[in-house]
Point group: C2
Chain length 116, copies 2
DNA sequence: TAGCGGGTTGGAGCAGCTCCAAGTCAACAG
DNA sequence: CTGTTGACTTGGAGCTGCTCCAACCCGCTA
């Protein structure tokens, strides 16, 4: 699969995919005879997971750690699971922030007087 | 109030407050005879609102627009309300993303096998 | 009178993209 | 066969939104 199709499939931009590859966050992606990337369905799965992680604010540093563990295979499974658990907990905290912010906004909007 | 106390009160860092001031996102903050900022309770309210907006991902550009409207007084109220409404809607979308991500993580975690 | 704990400024550095220039190659039009 | 289009390649510059740093000033206590 070419990069632009892959981008649509995983939700990241083509530039971001290239950037993640440069940063060592992707498995080795083979090139065709024309030098173009040949991105597999497995790669798409990985990219999609990365998409979710960064979309919900995981720092690159942690994504790199996660990648390194994935490359290590079974040995890294426990820590990978822990990272995902931690991130899941982080999402809970973020949701609480969103909720609190909605309250703040509601109060502020009300203070401007109701809808015109 | 001095800047470090203000930082604690509003949730932003002292550096961020200075940065926001440089960027024109704060009302004019007077200096004492020693050159130090004298931040008022009203300023804290404003900073706290900015804290919530940026904490939930509003871009600086929009925060600047919001600030400009606030400086314009009553004339800008309708648009300010609209900006907050739009942001509130945005929060809904973000919550949906968080929810979706939690599902994805749960599936991924399960695929590693249950807790050791 | 020296040192400490705050504050001030301008500017550099960082994360995480995002965009651009310059080049290559395949495919198709004329 | 040549020319144009379009999708890809790379390296590197630019952008956002902080975050940190150096160099300095000021008031205070020992």
């Amino acid at each position: 699969m070419k990069i632009s199709k892959a981008a649509k499939a995983c939700g990241l931009s083509a530039d971001t995919i290239r950037f993640y590859e440069k940063s060592g966050m992707l498995p080795d992606i083979p090139r065709g005879p024309d030098g173009h990337r040949d991105i597999s369905a497995k790669d798409i799965d990985w990219l999609t997971l990365l998409y979710w992680l960064r979309e919900t604010g995981m720092p690159l540093k942690q994504m790199k750690r996660f990648t390194a563990l994935a490359k290590a295979g079974d040995a890294g499974v426990a820590e990978r699971r822990q990272i995902l658990r931690d991130h899941s907990a982080e999402l809970g905290r973020r949701r609480a922030l969103l909720d609190r912010c909605e309250e703040v906004l509601a109060i502020k909007i009300a203070s401007y007087g109701e809808a015109p």
